[in-house]
Structures are given as C-alpha cells and as structure tokens.
Point group: C2
Chain length 488, copies 2
C-alpha cells in the first residue's frame, strides 16, 4: 500500500519546521513591532463570500467543500417531482435522480451544486479580512491594523514555487488614507528581509501614475491596459507591445517614448533622459492633458519618497518602477512588489492600496493598504542561498539528550532532566532501557541534538556527569549546575 498526500500539498519535517517557524516568527515580530495585531478567520468561508471576488479564472480555483451529512438527501427538498415532469420531457432534464430517491425528485446541475456545496476553503486572506471588517465593524476602532498568518488553498496546477496549500502572511491598515502606512510597509519589508538576510529590491509604483500615463496616451480601457502590463515579466516586452497595439490600446504616435518609459531603451540617450526623472515626465504629461489621477499620483509618490528618505532602510533597495502593474483589480494607489536579488524566483512579497475592498460586503469607501509575504517562496529562496546555515539556526529544537546504561540510571535521569528543564533547557531522556550506548548516540546524532549527557553507575554515585558535545566530539566530566550554565 502506498500512502501519499494530495497533489500540490506537503508534509513538513522537524528540520523544515525549525526553518519555517523562524521565518514566521521574524515576520510576526516585525508586524507587532509596527503595531499590527493578530486576527484569525476560519479556513472555510461561505461560498458566496468568496465567489466573484477573484475573477472568472480565480473562481475556478476555489476548493469547494461538500455539505456534510448525506448531501444527496438535500436534493429531496427540490420541488420538482419526476412524475410531474413526465418521461416525455426527459431530454429537457439536465440531471435526473431516479429510484435512488424514493420519491424521484429532480435537480439541475446548478441546483445540485447548490445542494452539495455551500462552503469553500479560503483562497487568500484579503477577502476573508474584508468580510471580517464588515462583520465586526462595530467592535473595531479604525484605523484597524491587523496581521494574519494562515494557510490558503488554490486548485492551481502545481509547479515550482506554486502549491495548492500555502501560507500567506498579511498585514493591512484599513480606515486610513495616510501615506505613512505606505512608508511603514516599506520599512517592514526592509526589516523582515534584513533579518532573514535576503537581499531584495522593493519595486514601488502607483496605479494613479499609470492612470496619468493612460490619460496622456488616450488609453480608455484602463483595466485591460493594467492587465497587459502585468504580464510583462512572464511574457516579455515584445508580447506586451504587440498586445497593446493589437487590442487598439495604444494609438498615440509617441510609442517610442512610451516603450522606453516602460521597457528597455531602444535609443540610449532617450532612455537616459527618461530614467533621470520619470516622475517629472509623467508630471509634464499629466499637466498637459489635465489628468487629475496623474497629478495625484505624482503628489502621493513625492510624499512617500520624501518620508522614506527620513528613515534610512537597512539593506533593501527601494525603486520606483513605472512598469509595475500588479494583476488584482482592487488596487487604486501605491503598489509594491519585492524580488530577491540573485535568485530566479517570482516576487516573494507584494501588496498595495485599495479604496473599496469592503464595498462588496456593504461597507463602501474605506481606504486601506496592505502587504503579503509569501512564506513558501521565501523558504525556497533561503534554502537556495543557504541562508539558514549562515543564520546559524539550530537544526533541532532539542538541546540535550540524556543517555543511560540501565533502568536505575534512567530513573536518575528523571531528576536530572527536571533540573535542566526548569532552567529552560529543552531536554530529552532516551526513553528505552538499553545497554547499547552507541545506539543512543546514533539516535541523538540523527536528530541533530547538539549535546548528550551520559549517565552510568559512576555518574549516579558521584554526580559528576559526562557531557559530550556532538559537534566537536569533545567529552568532559562536569557537575550538573555547570552544564546548566553552559547550555542555557
């Protein structure tokens, strides 16, 4: 018999958990340091809470849960009885329930789906958060700064860096349009990545700047414009240009400047001139066509960069990237994306400002901004760059194992362990009675426990314990209180 986990899901071993928990802890501590407070929501949401929020493609990737009980029984409540419809109309029926149901009730596939599933696994943490805010609006004091670290599920095709169950680590401020929030998000990214020793570039843009550009180039379908731009990373520049012109999105003669603004330079001098001050160029354009959005975007980014200059980032580079678009429709202001330098991996963190996330649930016009860390990709990046090793993370949560030569010695271990543990030292007694000390060492070695104390008759009599450092192989006779000082 072969046992397995469902496609796209994973088990995590103790060695992996030590690493993952380090990442979680780092992110959690930074979130709390900036005043974000934790919430949790159920894994299941009402199906209607989730559907229609992620676009048509997204809807298909939502994992639905079968109603409990004999879900087929639910079809019994259907009004249509087979005999009322008659066998002649059989071809018109989408789905016919025959003598399985004594009364022969009938349901269409859509009705059947409603009968069999009304709950689903959350697809992200953003929609459940919006639902939470609306549901608990009277208990919340706004601006509400929450963080949430929980798994999400997507029926995506599994591939490198893409899983069907993965964790999101989200922090959002809702009910505040202050740009200080954007600045603190950049600071948090910098702090998390510095602690994890990941060298990153934070790309920042603003949907309003894109709107200004769209206004200047007389692009009317903004959503499609953004959707196409968002594919640049995956599909390449050539595809994007063709797509923009094929879909009649770009009519303006100045395509050359447009291309240079977003992509690689075709004329070197032009590129240099544009790079020098993209914001100025967009300002000129926005003023020319009186684009309110464009002007507002310029102002917002000016404020963000001014505030950012007053708080030196530790290791991250933070660059304006006009070509950054982000796929989600709900973004309305600043947008962020973080890439690890020197690794081939999609973005490991992303987010942005939205003006109406809770509108769907009946609480319109509440502005917010948020960021989401992709723990699984961060884990992969850190493994690839051997960062866990350079952080000196212990391979095991256990600090010391007590080995013994027999039942009497093992009983003695209980008292020794109690003292070690009450000093906060994670201690394991080898549980079985066995004379084979090498077997016990082997066990400690495989579990990567860094220290072993050996208890024999001598040790029981004298209280001088034998301590072995499993890394260096060094062995010495030491009193318990010295061991405690050493290991604490």
């Amino acid at each position: 018999m072969k046992v397995s986990v469902p496609k796209g899901t994973r088990d995590f071993s103790p060695a992996e958990m030590v690493k993952r928990n380090f990442i979680f802890k780092t992110i959690r501590e930074v979130f709390e340091k900036y005043g974000f407070q934790p919430i949790e929501t159920p894994a299941m949401e009402q199906l209607e809470t989730l559907t229609g929020k992620y676009g048509e493609e997204g809807d298909k990737l939502i994992f639905k849960i079968l109603n409990s009980g004999n879900y087929l029984e639910a079809a019994k409540v259907r009004k249509h009885v087979l005999k009322d419809i008659g066998e002649n109309n059989f071809s018109k029926l989408d789905l016919v329930v025959g003598d399985y149901y004594p009364l022969g009730f009938v349901a269409t596939p859509k009705e059947l789906l409603n009968d069999i599933s009304e709950k689903a696994l959350r697809y992200d943490l953003t929609v459940p958060f919006a639902r939470y805010v609306v549901q608990h609006q009277n208990e919340i004091s706004f601006p509400f700064k929450r963080y949430q670290i929980q798994p999400v599920w997507r029926a995506d095709k599994p591939q490198k860096g893409r899983y069907r169950e993965f964790f999101q680590c989200d922090a959002d401020v809702i009910g505040s349009d202050s740009l200080l929030n954007e600045v603190e998000i950049v600071q948090m990214i910098d702090e998390v990545m510095t602690k994890l020793k990941i060298n990153v570039t934070i790309k920042i843009n603003n949907r309003k700047l894109l709107q200004g550009i769209a206004d200047y180039f007389k692009i009317t379908n903004f959503t499609e414009f953004v959707t196409i731009l968002d594919k640049a990373d995956k599909m390449g520049v050539k595809f994007i240009k063709e797509e923009l012109s094929a879909k009649n999105i770009l009519h303006h003669p100045e395509t050359e400047i447009f291309g240079t603004l977003f992509f690689e330079a075709e004329q070197k001098e032009l590129k240099q001139a544009v790079e020098k001050n993209k914001l100025n160029l967009i300002r000129v354009w926005s003023e020319e066509v009186k684009s309110e959005a464009g002007m507002k975007g310029i102002e917002e980014m000016g404020t963000v960069f001014t505030l950012l200059r007053s708080c030196a980032l530790q290791t991250a580079a933070c660059d304006l990237d006009i070509s950054l678009a982000r796929g989600l429709n709900y973004y309305t202001g600043a947008i962020f994306e973080v890439k690890a330098n020197g690794v081939e991996m999609g973005s490991i963190c992303g987010g942005g400002r939205y003006d109406d996330l809770t509108g769907n649930f009946g609480l319109p016009n509440v502005s917010g901004v948020g960021i989401s860390f992709g723990i699984d990709r961060i884990f992969d990046v850190m493994n690839e760059l051997n960062l866990f090793e350079s952080l000196g993370l212990p391979a095991s949560t256990t600090k010391v194992m007590l080995a013994h030569f027999g039942a009497t010695e093992r009983k003695y271990c209980i008292g020794v362990a109690a003292q070690l543990r009450s000093a906060g030292i994670n201690t394991e007694i080898y549980p079985d009675v066995t004379k084979k000390i090498s077997k016990q060492f082997d066990y400690a070695n495989k579990k990567q426990i860094p220290f072993v104390i050996v208890i024999g008759a001598d040790e029981v009599n004298t209280g001088d314990l034998t301590l072995k450092d499993m890394n260096s192989g060094q062995q010495s006779k030491v009193k318990l209180n010295e061991i405690i000082n050493l290991l604490k």
Copy 2:
C-alpha cells in the same frame, strides 16, 4: 447584506488571539522542553487515508472537498452510455445524466461521489500522523517524538465547547514501549496546566486492567464493554448498568462489587475496601482467572506510579480511575483524561497508548503513546475562571502609541518610533494627520495600548517627550532613552 462565517466556525479578534497565542506558546514550549519536535501535515488528506479510521459515525463527520475543475465533466469518462442502457431500464438507474452531457453518460451515486471528491479535511491529527510516519519511515529515527499544533474539522452538530473547526495540540512518541513516556506525558500535562493556572485532575487507567476485569467477569465482547463504559460521564451510571445487563455483557453474580469498582458505592464499607486498593483487587481477580492482560496491566501501572512518585508534580492531582475507558478503539495500554476542577466542561486533554496505529498503512506493530490538548476548551475554561486576568496577560501586542499634532510632528515620530522599535518595543504611530489629540487617545484606549507618547512642537524642539500611562492616567515629561528603559 448580512455577512457571516459557516456554522460552528469562528473569527478570533486581536484580544482573543493574545489569549490563544499564550496557550499555544505554553503548550509548544512544554512539548519542546520534553524533546518533542514539530511537524505539520496538509489540511487535506486523500479521502482513502481518512475513511474507515473513525468508525461509521466518524466517517459521516469528515468534510469532503469537491474535486477542482468542472467536476461534473469527470462523469464523462464513465463507460455506460444512456442509449446502451435504454429508456426501459430507466427505473434501475440510480442517477441519470441527461442532455447536460452531449453523449448522455451515466453514473451511479457512488461513482458520482468518487468522481466529485477524492480529498477531505483532516478529522484529527492522529491518523495524518500515522500516515506521516509510514510515508517517511526511512527518514525518521525511532523513537520518534513529534508534536503537531494544527486545526481539524468535523461536521459535528455545533454546541457549547464543540466547534466544526478547532485546534488540536498533539504530542506522540512512536516506536518506543518504554513507560517513561507515560510518565513524561503526565509531567507535561502538569507543567502546562500549572503554567496556565488551571487546577486539574489527571485520570489515568490502563486498557489491560479493563481486560483483566473483563476476563474475570467473563465478558467476551471487550470492545462493546469499553464503548458502554465510555458513556458513563454522558449517560449516567444507571444507564450503563442497564446497558451492560441488557446487552448480556454482564452475567457474573458479583455485580455488586463490579458496580462499586466502577461507580458509586451502594454499600459504604464495600466502597471503602475497594477504594483502598483497586489495583490489588484486580490483581487477585486476574490471578484467579489467569488473565495475562490483567497481570500485565497491574505491572505497567505499578511501574508508572513508581516512576511518577520520583518526580513530584507541581499542581496536578493524578488518580487511578478504573472507570475511565476512552472511546477510541486503538488504545491498548495506559489511557489519560484531564478535567479542570471547578468548571462544568468535558475533558480538556486526553490520550493513551496504542500498539498498532500505523498498521492500517502497512507498518504493523509499532507501539506509541500520545496526548492531545483541546485548546478551545482550555480557552473556554480559562475565560470562565478569569485566569487570563490573574496571569496578567497584556490585552494588546502593542506597547506604545505615538500621538502627534500635525504633519511635522508625525514626521518626527518616524525617528522616535525607529528607536523604540530597535529596542524591541512594539510601537504604533497614529497614521493620520489630525489636530484632535483626544481622538488619538480614544483610539489607543479602545485598542488597550498601555502607553501613549504625545509629540507636539515643544517636544520636537526640546526632545522632552510627554509620556502618558493609559492605565493610571499619569503623564510626565521624559527623555526618549528613559522611556525606552521604562518600557523595555
């Protein structure tokens, strides 16, 4: 529009999360202190991994997940075509798929269920753990001490203390039949409950003792005997006695002693005699009928209690309770159950030894023992007894908020916050620019942030900051480094 979460599931607010995280942290630290290492498994398991492991009743409570994609399409692969069966045989069909499918394929309800669901949400952590051990047996060095803290899902009828999504905190040792493991489990329970300030009684029994009793009373259906005993708490003693005699489980004339052994005394002197030494009584009985299981049970419990005496428990009482049965069939040795004293609440922790948990998955005869903490009931108990208050738990993860009188002052806050944060103090800057300082105080108050620093023009000029203790209402002018020392 009314938004809600699915029945039996809950949101957790920041204030609740602080409490819950304290419980999780306490349990996690104790597990690690005793050498247990963390693993995690996916929320979804293959349906076949779970079915048949929890009895017929349990199977019905497993939440199944609809296959992704257009699951109805899957029925298309079915071989049976409607026209081959013919309309005359219509009444024999369980389920007929009509012109919804162009080719008119047909499936029985069972086939349909297979087509639409092959994954399910985990029902407990024990079966996924058994699956994990078998799947990763070549990477594991036994005895394997793992802990696992994750949510589980059950389609149970929600009621007080019973949810459809709840967390389990499990620790198991597998691949060791040492009774030291039983002893350490009792120690861990004592340590967790002492840290949480919950006064508990740990009831301990051994399935082998029950087998000895069954042998003496010539009870042949042991499983049914245990199942009936397990209902004593819920159904009362009278019901149990009637049930035992109605099902012909108890024929022996000495029913009186039997009743006294398990339940309340009907003759006072007899009860006292029995209470005095239950183990001796069972030893005598077991010897009389030569019950191997009974004798082994006596020996095991003797060892456990001898070892337990050598490690003084901190606050928990640990009593032999012959009437403790536990419902699950896989237990074969020691069994545990923990009740909080002074509260009406089911057991908050339970576990036991099993000899063949992994046999289902092809790895037979591996003995193990484990314990599971019910975090949600522990949370309810602690709330009911106001234990969070007496533990002095902070209501908020944020320590201090910076209030300000305008944009210049807010900008000054960024530097102040950076210094507080780098000293490890969780700090929030009120994000919006507003002259209304009372609004900012109100916000800090509602979020139960214990300290507020007020930054006005004066503070920016002199560096003397105004610190307000939100609990006492006291306000004072202090330098930042003094504030850091005070709050650290």
